[in-house]
Point group: D2
Chain length 333, copies 4
């Protein structure tokens, strides 16, 4: 029986839907100023790691296996081919196939956000269209960055406006300075928030002042701010973020959904205790050991990790040990 059938026959999505509806009343998180967002991004999204076979081919069977395991976790949806999906290492064709595969396995009530950013505006428009056709609910569009010295506010506003105009699906901005060396400027975010087809931003920079200011300055718009990392998820919720796209959710999906739940219910003390235990594991699978660390940790929690594509290198035994002790010291192993 296929994964999607399994899911369709379960009650979990329905329960989850009730859960979210109930939580709209929770006083913990900020309530929208006016009408509901066109596409509710509230909740946790794992940015899926892309499984490769030992020969570094995309392993679709393992991908479906992981999706099956994630089905019992109350994620709001999935990000496919974000930075943690090694998208720069996939050919255009592969990028679309991976999204198609995930869409087939994913129940319709789960959102599929597909990374579609390319360096040129034209290529981004085309990739976004392909992602829409492959079933994505929204496109996650990373800032072009190779010519970062020329990526002025004006240039970026123009780029995203063109993409937003052309896209058949809503667009989510994506700022990830650790990878791009570029912060999408605040003025650009505020301007772009007014575009009817641009509905939010994933910000991975970790500057909480910037997060708060983005929420504040876009409150009149149909625009949602997502934390780009588990390390500052509670703080982001505290200043008004709607959800989080967290690499660590590939490994510790349930605790992250629980943290989301506690914040929504205003149980900040419990939330804080949970947040504390997630910081070091999160830093280990992002800044410290990157995707090779993320995939290694996934294996300890029952998921398929496998190799990365080169030039990303596997961890040394000493690094594996350090990674493992980070998880055990915080009570996860």
């Amino acid at each position: 029986m296929a994964f999607s059938t399994l899911l369709a026959s379960s009650l979990r999505p329905t329960l989850a839907a009730l859960h979210w509806a109930a939580c709209r009343q929770c006083r913990g998180l900020s309530t929208p100023q006016g009408s509901e967002p066109s596409l509710n991004l509230g909740g946790i999204f794992p940015p899926l790691a892309t499984p490769f076979s030992p020969t570094q081919e995309v392993d679709y069977a393992q991908l479906e296996g992981n999706l099956h395991r994630y089905a019992s976790i109350s994620f709001r949806g999935l990000v496919v081919l974000g930075s943690n999906g090694e998208y720069p290492y996939l050919a255009s064709r592969e990028r679309v196939e991976v999204v198609s595969c995930v869409r087939r396995a994913l129940p319709r009530d789960r959102l599929l956000l597909a990374g579609s950013g390319c360096e040129s505006t034209q290529a981004t428009i085309e990739m976004t269209a392909s992602m829409a056709e492959a079933g994505a609910d929204a496109a996650l569009v990373v800032t072009p960055c190779y010519y970062r010295g020329a990526m002025t506010t004006a240039a970026l506003v123009h780029h995203y406006t063109e993409v937003g105009d052309a896209s058949p699906i809503p667009v989510v901005l994506y700022s990830v300075p650790a990878n791009t060396g570029l912060d999408l400027p605040m003025e650009a975010v505020i301007t772009l928030a007014q575009h009817p087809n641009i509905i939010g931003i994933k910000d991975s920079g970790g500057d909480i002042t910037r997060m708060a200011l983005m929420v504040h300055k876009t409150r009149q718009e149909d625009f949602q701010v997502l934390a780009g990392s588990a390390s500052f998820l509670l703080a982001s919720y505290a200043v008004g973020a709607s959800g989080g796209v967290c690499a660590l959710a590939n490994v510790l999906g349930d605790p992250l959904c629980q943290l989301d739940h506690l914040c929504r219910k205003g149980q900040w003390q419990e939330a804080r205790d949970l947040q504390y235990r997630l910081i070091e594991p999160n830093m280990a699978v992002t800044r410290r050991f990157g995707i090779p660390g993320l995939k290694k940790a996934m294996e300890w929690f029952g998921y398929y990790g496998g190799p990365c594509r080169a030039p990303l290198a596997p961890l040394s035994p000493a690094q594996v040990e350090e990674l493992r002790s980070t998880f055990s010291a915080n009570g996860w192993l």
Copy 2:
């Protein structure tokens, strides 16, 4: 009638004390793990601007005038000669005199934290002793930074251990990378938190993940974490900080104490709305326009601002206009 007499005869400190006692029950902020801190740093501290006359002499009368005006605000205490006090522009003698002057004017129930950091360990030890003698309750010791390439974790731990050992008063670490180009490393903080005479840190870097991790990793110690800027005060409280040392408190002391109060009571929604309105004014009097901007804004709110010492330059008329519009756009003017 002197300022200190005025304060002594009022009931305000007593009320404030009751207020804090009550708030220990508030569920909003984290409760200490074990016993009470040796010196409770919970609350808001303005890092006093140092008033200069038109000829750039320290103006002690204006300093007392400002202290008088601050007396009605429920600050936990004052920081004297932090970065906003232009301490690098004061001679050693002047630094001690300013602290003595403030001590005379300040009621004993308000804490006086005096900046005593110098580049060399020996000079820091001597300045800290002078500050203690001048009446400081604790010393705020900025990281030495000129040889930042050599300021390893080991060197900094040694420096602060020597200072902590020698100091007659408790020591608060001070990390302010915008000025020093140096983050006090996390490992150093964790090690130094175990020193019996090192009771906390003021961190102005704004990295909320780091703030959370510092709270988490020092919870077993008599150690408190203070946010070094108003921009991320709410978020810092959300992750367990004890208080804030905020340049903006020279200007908007009451709203900042109100924000502190809301967070302690767990009224996060109201806190958030207030926090939003404080970010842009805070950025304007720190990163954007610095101390000249801070002093200009102080004048609009009834305090003495006056000139900075050179090479800090006064704002241009256009900059004054921009500064003013930042305050008015957020409803403060």
Copy 3:
């Protein structure tokens, strides 16, 4: 009559060959330690701008026109699809077609270095093979950079070793931190210089100490160091570099070849006077105004410039004026 025929019937290449042979005796530049390099990279290479039509299609006719105009300049060769060729904006197919087009137009005694770097090792290997097939004499392989936190010395050595092993043509390393946010580490360069199929590096970082150290530490190898920008060309020659890949050579090819010539002959005083006049124009067409500035300046010197692909934006009239005055103030217009 085609460009290649024109060139074939001229004597210029032969004269140029004589010129270089004579210059081997020049005492100005360093002589190789032992045997001659397998592929002599000594001299100036313009990193060709890629001409686009008003609709942003590759304009092959204009490309051939520019090549025709460059034929009278004593370049050592051309770089095709370096950073200034907007390679991240070209599809794989376009990248190969552009190289094929240039190869057809270029006489065999001019070197064609083709940019073939991709993010993944496998894609880089494939693109390098395609470039070889399209007629490139060597491949210029930029550092992969999206996961820069994971691009350790070991990972980069592994990447380039795989590429060098697989490549049918010699490989030139390419470090351009302004675009990639990544310096190829010195240890990696020294190790890779020993690979028989890795023959040099283009370094655009401008750190002259690093340039000197690279020359020094690879002197026993068949390895040549190329300056990646006209701003520090003379200084690079002074510390032993073999040549330069200079964006400004798209505009001021003759003066750059003259600078090369003066350095080789040891006429440092004249070289210095020429170098001085090239710095500001070079900064204007690189760091200051980027490729849109480069293409605009090309038009003033008789070349086709045309638009860039989006999101690179055209200069404003004020920027054009500033660019122009930089060239005129230095006596070029």
Copy 4:
């Protein structure tokens, strides 16, 4: 017999004077555009390390001993209390005493450049006057940096203009971003070069394009550019610098003066071979191991090194070993 007497009775200064006179004819370095500089800074200056006793007191006897040993080296002069002199760790009184001590020991034909920079303009003016009184020939004034965000071109031009106006001795600008986190902006340098009492700059940043452009843009002025480090000395001379202030000259004074000599005579090939061997030792006593490394290396070459003031920490045995091997691998030990 005192050191100064020894020097006065020797012929060495006279020979050195002849040497420099002869070299004015050398075609290697650039000749001044018009008249001679008011104070010729051409040549090598060691920025003296300040000797401390085991109890970290200034050790004047060891200082004189080192000066005695330096007397046989054809330095143009000495820098006293530059960054390598640990000036931020000396009290004002000590700074003046050290300069007085050096002046007494130094023959009048050697230049004494004294570091007099402080954070405030007023303190810098006073310290500069004290240095003049103590016998300094010129003042080396580092950029104030604690409020680096506010140190705009305008603020810095104002600061240095005030200092230049007030100073009884010529002023040399000093930009050392590794310590200050601040590059003195090019526009500030160009403007300040026109001040009649500002005669040059020591630039330690190592950006050779900037060095060349500074020489180029100030050629009409009485202004000389000094390289701030031995690593890029040859390259700086190649682009027109007048001399060098090199930490390594505390250790390898003769080779650096020889490099200066070779560059002046236009013997670039020999110069290059010497430059290569100096880079790694220089990096080891600056960026890599800092002043503790510099002082350790001094001991191997017959000078007094001794401890640094805390918080600068002594090298570990492993670091000493690494430092030593750097010198031996380059043929100096």
